[in-house]
Amino acid sequence: MSAATTRDAHDDAHHDDHHHHGPEPGVMRWVYTTNHKDIGTLYLVFSFLMLLLGGLLALGIRTELWSPGLQFVEPDFFNQLTTMHALIMVFGAIMPATVGFANWMVPLMIGAPDMALPRLNNWSFWLLPFAFALLISTFFMEGGAPAAGWTLYAPLVLQGGANLPFAIFAIHLMGIASVMGAINIIVTILNMRAPGMTLLKMPLFIWTWLITAFLLVAAMPVFAGAVTMLLTDKFFGTSFFDAAGGGDPVLFQHIFWFFGHPEVYIMILPSFGIVSQVIPTFARKPLFGYESMVYATASIAFLSFIVWAHHMFTVGMPLAGELFFMYTTMLIAVPTGVKVFNWVATMWRGSMTFETPMLYAIAFVILFTLGGFSGLMLAIVPSDFQYHDTYFVVAHFHYVLVTGSLFGIFAGVYYWLPKWTGNMYDERLGKWHFWLSTIFVNILFFPQHFLGLAGMPRRVPDYAVQFADWNMVSSIGGFGFGLSQLLFAWIVLQCCRGGKQATAEVWDGSDGLEWTVPSPAPYHTFETPPAVR
């Protein structure tokens, strides 16, 4: 075939012998790579750096809240900390981490040679560092970073200084990156499965990611639209969010939360998927109720588009609206409950061992459910009038986000790390990491329930003295939890450098295509599709 002569010399320098080929040498490997494992690694490393940065900002928050009075930061800077903490955690830490998992594991679990659109895959990642450079650069601008909360409510956000257009465009870039990444994942799952891998044979992690990717494609563009309207309201004279011109500040909230609520499931569904892989492995028993898990995930995704106004019960919606959103929100407890019960039933009469991934998965089930319970309490409108915008909400969402999404991610890292690196991590240190994290995270966030119920508003740099004690406890937990993550960094580094050789199966209860390839997984896998039972 004469085609080779017309191809780009650089790109295809190694094409013809790619069957036995490893990565290119040098750093440019990481910049030019189209390999799903490389890109997965990039995502994971990036997200960990963002976790440290976002965590550092959170520790700034906890430092100022250590005791009443202002000691360390000015109120405006405090608001910048809160806003940037959330933006970085949500879009920089949690989401890219789960996309990293998708990149590494989707092709391995469905028996595909790579992602369906490898160049696009590279771009999906390589927009992120640029987007975050733009976002973080606002800290150094006149007037500082955005300070209106991660929810960017108009008209407050329009009072922001130089940061506003930078933050908006950073969000656009992240949005483009997420949508491209999600399209790639959908296409890979729909089009790249090994023969015999029917949809209902796919591991649950694949299902949760398929549905997550759908949520991303549907929700992110709406967010892009919302921030575009902010931009034009500020700079081009439109009045979407200005009553004087017939608009409504609440319109922004509707559009934001139409994105924002699916967004929280975007952050949790991949962790559901990870936990659904981990629990059967260590219970040595197949996942209970696989099909109902799939349907439950799909129902959650569907419901997530019709509950958004539960974040806005206090904006003065008509009664019918409040009731509608209360009922739909409560309904989400049903499919989520199905998942929780299925996990418990998977453990039931298993033969359980408690390696670090399993410990994290168990903590996930318990602590996420706690967060779900407080979510359900928030859904009850009469009491949400009291809870709204207090630390009770902060406690709720950190339970679902930190002990939910993040713990799911930890479970996944420990679970697949031997597959990625070929080495076992240090189990003893892993257990230390687990216990330290679990204890401190509860010291950190449980007291926030009390603070909220007792009346402490969120997003305040200072508080009345009756809130002093629990705040100090919470701050202690925060520092403990933060420092514990340095242990995590150490464990992962150690494991990358060496350690006990991992077998292909790694765990004796493991099941699935990813465990049929050697550890570490070779640079190219499944170039000829595997046979699926």
């Binding site: 650089h10 790579d114 017939g246 139409f258």
Partner: protein, 286 residues
């Protein structure tokens, strides 16, 4: 014809180039909005990089496609990819349509005292009657005239709908390997497309010069220009895509079995068409 193996390119320079270009573009624009006029240079530079990147990236994909190293599975990937991309665009427009509906169904009536808005109207905007279109209780932007539906917009509807027909005619051409029909069909479509954009531009000129209808004309001006503006931008992009496809067709690319690039552009064109129908009905007509 196609290789058995799924084509996985090894290494690519275009994405990082695209990131740099895009970042310079939006970063420059942001700085410009903050009043730093030198930033427009950065912006232009970014735009140039971005366009160059697209030429190079797409050029390479075209060469790969023409050298038939993509198999049917790769083709399916592209199809799914384009489909979901269009879906994401639909959602983007959804946000703006949502804003329009919200304003028309909720916020404007509330300001006028309907439903829960009694006190709002009584205390804050006592003289405001809710009628659509409106530039709000404070009459932002001053007196203006409404853009009628049955002039240029109706003409544009006919133009865009016929372009949907011509693009289908072009499709029939390539399916029959009738290249002249393919190219002529595309040419007609592209001409109609640019005609549409031209008329739209003229309409904007009219609005600004004679109707005092501007972006700053309250919620009506905001929704009108943002919706039609983003739509117009998409028509332009679609027309460019079709132009590229046409040029490729003139060079002898595509045959009755292999013409996904054309189909992708055509899908996009139909999507733009459907959005327009929504616009015509909800922005101009009702």
């Amino acid at each position: 014809m196609a290789e058995a193996q799924y084509y996985v390119p090894h290494g690519t320079r275009w994405p990082i180039m695209g990131s740099i270009g895009l970042t310079a573009l939006v970063g420059g624009f942001a700085a410009l909005l903050n009043g730093a006029s030198v930033a427009s240079l950065v912006m232009v530079l970014g735009f140039v990089i971005l366009v160059a990147m697209m030429f190079l990236w797409f050029g390479q994909v075209v060469r790969e496609s023409e050298s038939r190293i993509y198999n049917d599975q790769v083709d399916r990937s592209f199809r799914w990819g384009m489909g979901w991309f269009i879906f994401s665009e639909v959602c983007f427009f959804g946000a703006f349509f949502g804003a329009l509906f919200y304003a028309r169904v909720y916020s404007v009536p509330w300001l006028g005292g309907e439903g829960t808005g009694v006190a709002t109207n009584l205390f804050l905007w006592p003289s405001f009657d809710s009628v659509w279109p409106t530039n709000g209780p404070a009459a932002l932007g001053g007196a203006y005239q409404v853009m009628g539906a049955w002039g240029i917009p109706a003409l544009n509807t006919i133009i865009l709908l016929s372009s949907g027909g011509t693009v289908t005619w072009a499709h029939w051409g390539i399916i029959k390997d009738n290249r002249p029909q393919f190219v002529w069909g595309l040419l007609l479509t592209v001409v109609l497309g640019f005609l549409f954009v031209g008329l739209q531009a003229y309409e904007y000129y009219e609005a600004y010069a004679h109707l005092n209808l501007k972006l700053s004309t309250g919620i009506y001006g905001s929704t009108f220009f943002m919706l039609t503006g983003f739509h117009g931008a998409h028509v332009t992009i679609g027309a460019i895509m079709l132009t590229v496809v046409m040029l490729r067709g003139m060079r002898g690319h595509f045959d009755s079995k292999n013409h996904f690039a054309f189909e992708a552009a055509a899908w996009y064109w139909h999507f733009v068409d459907v959005v327009w129908l929504g616009l015509f009905i909800f922005v101009y007509w009702l």
